[in-house]
């Protein structure tokens, strides 16, 4: 899904990036650079894209309120979530940033974060704050959407990008194995540096959300049998909470639609 025509950004702002990076990255993306905080003046439907220098910047809740409408982590995949050094060159991240910014231009709200950062800042809650600022939702609607989005992002993080298998069986050995695998993969930039992307399209009476990962994809399998497992309920929950769910790109993209 994409908007009919790209939606332009009013400005690009950096948060926690080395001096000099913002102008170079903004030029590369063909968007006007704005000075760092406060948010640049922009109308009620303004669109400002923010390039995040790391996990701390992504955790700043003021950056998830309007006019901010797109969030792209501009860190090296080798050091996900960590501020680039002042001596580092933006050239290394420019291709990934310009590609993400081009995708951002086709959605009303867009986030592209490393796996490490998406997990650390509770990305689902951040995106729902941005949605709630633009549409009035009841507490129950917001809770259900946040859970569905959280489950989709968790699947992208754990099974997609980190390629950690779920907890098999219902015992502490399954929990120990899961803990061990998750910690090992989260500490490995080859996995934790992979991107999770969320795109939202806000219509008057519906919200469509895509979540993508950079894993190897999966084919949904029928439930194996009688032995219950501690994992494997996420997709079922999403199906119960959303009006419709589609798995695309061999399972690397999930599209959820909610009626408002």
């Amino acid at each position: 899904m994409a908007t009919a025509a790209p939606l332009p950004f009013d400005a690009l702002q950096g948060a926690g990036l080395p001096a000099g990076w913002v102008r170079i990255l903004a030029d590369g993306c063909h968007i006007r650079p704005a000075p760092p905080v406060p948010a640049p003046a922009s109308g009620p439907d303004g669109r400002v894209l923010v390039l995040l220098g790391g996990e701390e910047d992504a955790a700043d809740s003021t950056l998830w309120a309007p006019p901010y409408a797109a969030w792209v982590e501009a860190t090296s995949p080798a050091t996900p979530g960590r501020h680039p050094d002042d001596s580092a060159s933006p050239a290394g991240v420019l291709p990934a940033v310009t590609a993400a910014v081009a995708r951002a231009g086709h959605a009303h709200l867009f986030a592209s974060l490393s796996t490490a950062t998406a997990n650390a800042v509770h990305l689902a809650g951040r995106v729902m704050a941005a949605v709630s600022a633009r549409r009035s939702l009841t507490d129950a609607q917001r809770d259900d959407m946040e859970l569905a989005l959280h489950e989709a992002i968790s699947n992208a993080v754990v099974h997609g990008n980190l390629q950690v298998a779920g907890m098999k069986g219902l015992n502490v050995d399954a929990l120990d194995r899961f803990s061990h695998d998750l910690a090992r993969r989260m500490a490995d930039p080859a996995f934790a540096g992979r991107r999770v992307e969320v795109s939202c399209w806000l219509e008057p009476d519906a919200l469509t959300v895509d979540v993508t990962d950079e894993g190897s994809g999966f084919e949904p399998a029928p439930k194996a049998g009688a032995t219950p497992d501690a994992s494997g309920r996420g997709l079922d929950l999403i199906t119960l909470l959303a009006q419709s769910v589609e798995l695309l790109d061999h399972g690397r993209r999930i599209r959820m639609r909610f009626t408002l």
Partner: protein, 101 residues
């Protein structure tokens, strides 16, 4: 997620706070060990101050339920509200674990 345990002879009350998600695997593991080692037959998890639970949190509660059964104890989930109550209901956890208001 954080928790505080109040252990009595016949039961323990464990008050959970914050968010219970797949990131809490290590804390849940420690909590299960503590509950296994306590005297009380009834291990009550008070969810009143829990703000958010996800499907992995539900899975970990099922592991706790199973491990308490193996240790001849009973797990009770008490006082869920808001989002947590909704998830317990959607996941139909009451069919497997004792859920009290």
């Amino acid at each position: 997620m954080d928790y505080a345990i109040e252990a009595k002879d016949h039961e323990s009350i464990v008050r959970l706070r914050g968010r219970l998600t797949f990131n809490d695997h290590a804390k849940l593991r420690t909590l299960i060990t503590e509950m296994q080692g306590s005297k009380g037959k009834r291990q009550i998890l008070d969810l009143g101050n829990l703000e958010f639970v996800d499907s992995a949190g539900i899975g970990m509660l099922l592991i706790a339920h199973e491990e308490m059964g193996n240790a001849d104890k009973q797990l009770v989930l008490r006082g869920a509200a808001g989002q947590v109550k909704r998830v317990l209901s959607v996941a139909q956890l009451g069919k497997i674990v004792t859920v009290e208001d």
